[in-house]
Symmetry: C2
Subunit: 438 residues, 2 copies
């Protein structure tokens, strides 16, 4: 049996952190992988502009080259592994590979978000695979689980903690009672956050990922621009503390949820009950909770980033694609992400319904609480619980007291209208802070 | 493309709870499944001795028959789905199907445990699939994740909460402070535990499942008889309470772990730190934590049993196998569970190392604590923490005080030798209770 195994040729384009991890995993793990899978995968080339920097992995010198497109189109390369990132040369490489009839494995979220429709159509036309298991959740096989393990389920909803940087910051704020700015600065020193942290802390990385999960779950292409995204920048420590007192932790949660004919996709800092599994997801870890029509809740947890974890997902994709190549399966028998011509449209942000945590700095005068409660009620927002906190010296001097309320499920639009009116009437010191409750 | 899809014929043998769930899922979800997967699956027959009981699913009458073997060998059946259970007729059906060149999907743990080696060899010889994704973890795609998602990883260890009945009992004991016997009786009334609960509460169901996971992770066949299995029968509530005070919850944990040339496989009630994800797995839910060489920890959580969740896993297998059938892939290119001729042998139970919780009823006399601590030390067991609890009136009268110690990592054999000596010397009222710490 071993003698009959076809060798499948792999070319890696992009020899950075993940590229080096994939090369190492392929070179050291090949015997295990071929025993497990009955397929022989041969790493035949690695292209990068910089092939002199030490990547911490022993690679035969003859595998290295600087010409990405030459590697991409070589006859002995069956699968092109794109790990450059971005939408410049990465786009050219992926497109060229697909046009040459080669399958592609990539971890490039941005490329999928911006050029996915075109590239998947091209892959379908050419009957080759375009796999992207490492684009969401790093080493967690969430994409594979949605594609295969949950294939019989109508996905009612998926909830994700998808950005390790944000989760690290939130974990330290909760654990140490430290301010956002201080923890962010520390995370940057430690290399957990970029010098320009916007992509992470403003929620866009999380949004990219939930769009990919939504496209898999619902067979629709969700344009990032249409998704309501709120990150964790400047999250006030006082809200972390009040949440803790109420039995919650704050997580940056991505949601995609099916309604009647409409799809809710959003990213918000969200209060999660401490007893819930998602509340136990700490530090840089990621998790995705999937509510399937047959399984109910299943949850997937692990490292969402890092060289080895991401390389694990890339190699898993390589092996699956290599099996197809080795067996000559016509590609149309394999799943591609956007197959449904779905009639789902995006639910407008103001129509999204959630329970809410609201913190109001209420004027310390008789009848104020009654006034804002009445306004909430007039907008259809019911109060589930309320507590008035002892004001700080500064607040007392300014004449305001902090009040926290938890609402019953309410439409975002109704809540915002109510809070705007409460603010306009001068009942509160500033626009109240509201956060979703899971 | 749709017109070219080959229809793959499915026969279900065993029309009980799960069989009805699979039939329902196939009949109602077929459009979704074929859109997602590019394969048409046709349910062509269901065999059961009892085809008159209402199973809560609308099935065309002409699909039903009472002759399992006739259905199994029919020419228009490509995949036989065995949901009878046990090793009698189920074995005959599976063997006959494989011999007839048909692929098989089963959820039958017992059959795999007792006849797995023979049946997998037969499947390999006949180049057909034998899938068993529903045998561990119900709707959680853990088997698929080990096979595919983590294929690049050397599995360092896997830890599972694999039996819903046990976890339900343990959750209620911890939550309500209720006795084992009372909760078990209640679980039986509610249908969460069998009239004869031994398979669940004595740990054998959990052991079956960890053997299957070990065979997938390490490519070795682990005989159930060689596995040290300790269930939760008669677990003392006082240990649940002391564990709680110390910051732990008790879970029935299955472990498989690779050591140098040896494999540790065991099932024990285990103290899990409350902050750990596994501690949040409550009620009938299951979870598996996998420590991979590239991913580090990943965790998979969901309903480990029940009609719809189990049917979800069975249908996922059916779809994967149907893709192979439709595309005519020779089966040897697909993974089978026991592929490695591994040199791993089972680590003897006494050589397993763990931290331990030990509760001793120590004679209330001067110097007793010093004596048992010395004996532990003589056997190489170091004390990490110790606390003496206030005795109950009964204990005070009898002249004993409860002492709880937590040890540093120790060999099971050393701990047991020490406890046996402590008991023999008359320092304690009865043989001390020891429990592993995760």
């Amino acid at each position: 049996m071993g003698a009959k195994m076809k060798e499948v040729g792999i070319g890696i384009v992009g020899f950075g952190t993940v590229g080096a991890g994939v090369a190492e995993g392929l070179l050291t793990g090949m015997a295990l992988i071929s025993r497990r899978c009955g397929v022989n995968v041969a790493l035949r080339g690695i292209a990068d502009l910089d092939i002199t920097t030490d990547r911490g992995v022993q690679v035969p010198q003859e595998l290295l080259s600087t010409d990405a497109l030459a590697l991409t189109t070589r006859d002995d390369i069956d699968i092109v592994v794109e790990l450059i990132g971005g939408t410049g040369i990465a786009y050219t490489v992926v497109k060229t590979a697909l046009e040459s009839g080669k399958s592609v494995v990539t971890a490039n979220k941005k490329l999928l978000a911006e050029k996915g429709a075109e590239l998947f159509a091209l892959a379908r036309e050419k009957r080759v695979d375009l796999y992207f298991g490492a684009s969401v959740g790093g080493g967690i096989p969430i994409i594979r689980s949605l594609r295969d393990g949950l294939v019989a389920n109508d996905i009612r909803a998926a909830y994700g903690i998808l950005n390790g940087t944000c989760n690290y910051i939130l974990t330290r704020m909760a654990r140490e009672g430290a301010d956002f700015d201080a923890v962010l600065a520390d995370a940057q020193r430690l290399g957990y956050a970029e010098a320009n942290p916007s992509l992470d802390i403003d929620g866009f990385d999380t949004a990219h990922k939930i769009c990919i999960l939504a496209s898999l779950a619902y067979g629709v292409s969700v344009p990032l621009a249409d998704v309501k995204v709120e990150g964790i920048r400047g999250l006030d420590l006082v809200d972390v503390k009040y949440a803790d007192e109420l039995g919650y932790v704050i997580k940056l949660l991505a949601v995609c949820k099916r309604h009647e004919g409409q799809l809710e996709v959003r990213v918000n800092p969200t209060l999660v009950p401490k007893k819930h599994m998602l509340a136990s997801v700490s530090d840089v870890f990621n998790a995705v909770l999937v509510d399937g029509s047959m399984t109910d809740d299943t949850l997937y947890y692990g490292r969402g980033a890092g060289r080895a974890a991401t390389a694990s997902a890339v190699i898993s994709d390589i092996v699956s694609v290599a099996r197809h190549v080795a067996s000559g399966v016509p590609r149309e028998a394999e799943p591609l992400p956007v197959l449904e011509e779905s009639a789902l449209t995006l639910l407008p942000a103001e129509a999204c319904t959630s329970r809410y945590y609201v913190r109001l700095m209420v004027k310390d005068a008789c009848g104020m609480v009654g006034q804002f409660a009445t306004i909430l009620g007039d907008h259809g927002v019911s109060i589930f619980a309320a507590s008035q906190h002892e004001p700080t010296e500064e607040q007392r001097t300014a004449g305001y007291v902090p009040v926290v309320i938890l609402t019953q499920p309410a439409r975002a639009g109704d809540l915002n209208a109510a809070l705007t009116e409460i603010h306009a009437r001068g009942i509160v010191q500033a626009m109240p802070r509201s956060l979703c409750i899971f």
